[in-house]
Symmetry: none
Subunit: 225 residues, 2 copies
DNA sequence: AGAGGTTTGTAACACTTTGTAAAATACCGT
DNA sequence: ACGGTATTTTACAAAGTGTTACAAACCTCT
């Protein structure tokens, strides 16, 4: 059964969606402000979130950021006309899809199914645990272990390692490491990523083999040991 | 660079999209019927497909099915106004997204970026192993061994050897070695590939026999030992 | 076979990128 | 504001890559 959380202050809309989505085989809950939305969203009971941009108190963007801080749960944003689509879908915010109001509930159902299908495909291992050899990472609880032993990483090291693990076996460019892990573009003579890589290599046993340098390109996590 | 294939019989629309998507940093090609669309889509040169539902000859759904038969390339369907059912069908048939006509090109660009970002994340693809005689290469773990013994190659040497191994038994032109391994065009008096080949020959036991010079063309890995 | 031109092999050097220690700065909870 | 941690900058060493130069191999034409 797919549990959907709707976060919208329009109570009538929530009831209507509840009714329609139940017919489509979803199970629906609703809350009406961003703060409770963000709290509920990450409690692990839902498979997808429908999140309105305009909310009383904390707005939808803040809620989105807060949720993305600890979860990759599929999120559809309900936007007002004219909102900046690029930002909503972009890495900055990280929504999976959006739907401009007013919308047809059938379309919401279709998009919900689509993003849930995608996220199902993505997480071969349902519980969103990343595993590469003896390295195990749980992004939701921000824990990493090597061969069962917990290791302590700083948040930047964590972000970099997460990116590398999500692309294990393939090179990740420095550009995208800066962009996605540090949230800023790579500038000339900027060496921070190199420094963090250096630290990671030292912290992870066998790190110098695990994290390979692809000169002129970036870094890569090796798949086989 | 991201190559996009547009499959739509509306030539004006194609030109407009071409223009707009180029501004957004995509590289665009267009074909105008489903049959060529399906053929082009799977040739490996594109990172995403924009596919109209209404096409002369083979319609968009057939093309979609055909493409999905052999590729998981990201596909956005362009649907006619009003046909929710078609849209839903499209998503259930394995399109990654859809956009009802008429649409804002910005929205297409945003959705393209979104699905490409997703598919980039997904491709933790199975690690293939390349074998040519006693040479074994695992690109995902960046390891090469000769007769079971690991050898250490630099990134460029690795890239060149990978290309040669993927085309073992056939000549690989210097042009494509420069283009694909060094990521730049071959310029006059540029000898770097020759240097790297020289190093490779020295590092690989029996390298002078293994890597053959095809004068005036390029280099080739011999199949027999 | 030999002359003359072109392409390739490789050593030596020049330049670029990366590794990492250490210092400087930013950040955060108290 | 203070102390501790995290991150970025700086500086220099080490490794990798590109350029130059010349010798060797090859091709073409006579």
């Amino acid at each position: 059964m797919s549990n959907i959380l709707i976060v919208d202050d329009d109570i009538e809309l929530c009831e209507m969606l509840d009714e329609y989505l139940r017919l489509e085989g979803f199970s629906v809950s609703a809350v009406h402000d961003g703060k409770s939305g963000a709290e509920q969203a990450v409690n692990g009971n839902y498979q997808a979130i429908v999140l309105d941009v305009m909310l009383p108190g904390q707005n939808g963007f803040d809620a989105l950021k807060q949720i993305r801080g600890s979860s990759l749960i599929p999120i559809i944003m309900l936007t007002a006309k004219g909102d900046d689509i690029d930002r909503i879908l972009g890495l900055e915010m990280g929504a999976d899809d959006y739907l401009p109001k007013p919308f047809n509930p059938r379309e919401l159902a279709a998009r919900l199914k689509a993003i849930m299908r995608r996220s199902e495909q993505n997480s071969g291992n349902a519980s969103s645990v990343l595993e590469v050899g003896k390295l195990v990472m749980k992004p939701s609880s921000r824990k990493v272990s090597w061969d069962g032993q917990d290791m302590s990483l700083t948040s930047t090291e964590f972000a970099i390692l997460e990116l590398l693990m999500r692309n294990a076996g393939a090179a990740v460019s420095k550009e995208s490491l800066y962009e996605k892990a540090l949230g800023r573009p790579l500038e000339q003579y900027d060496r921070s990523i190199d420094m963090h890589i250096s630290h990671l290599r030292r912290k992870i046993p066998g790190g110098e083999h695990l994290i390979q340098t692809i000169r002129g390109t970036g870094y890569q996590l090796t798949l086989e040991q």
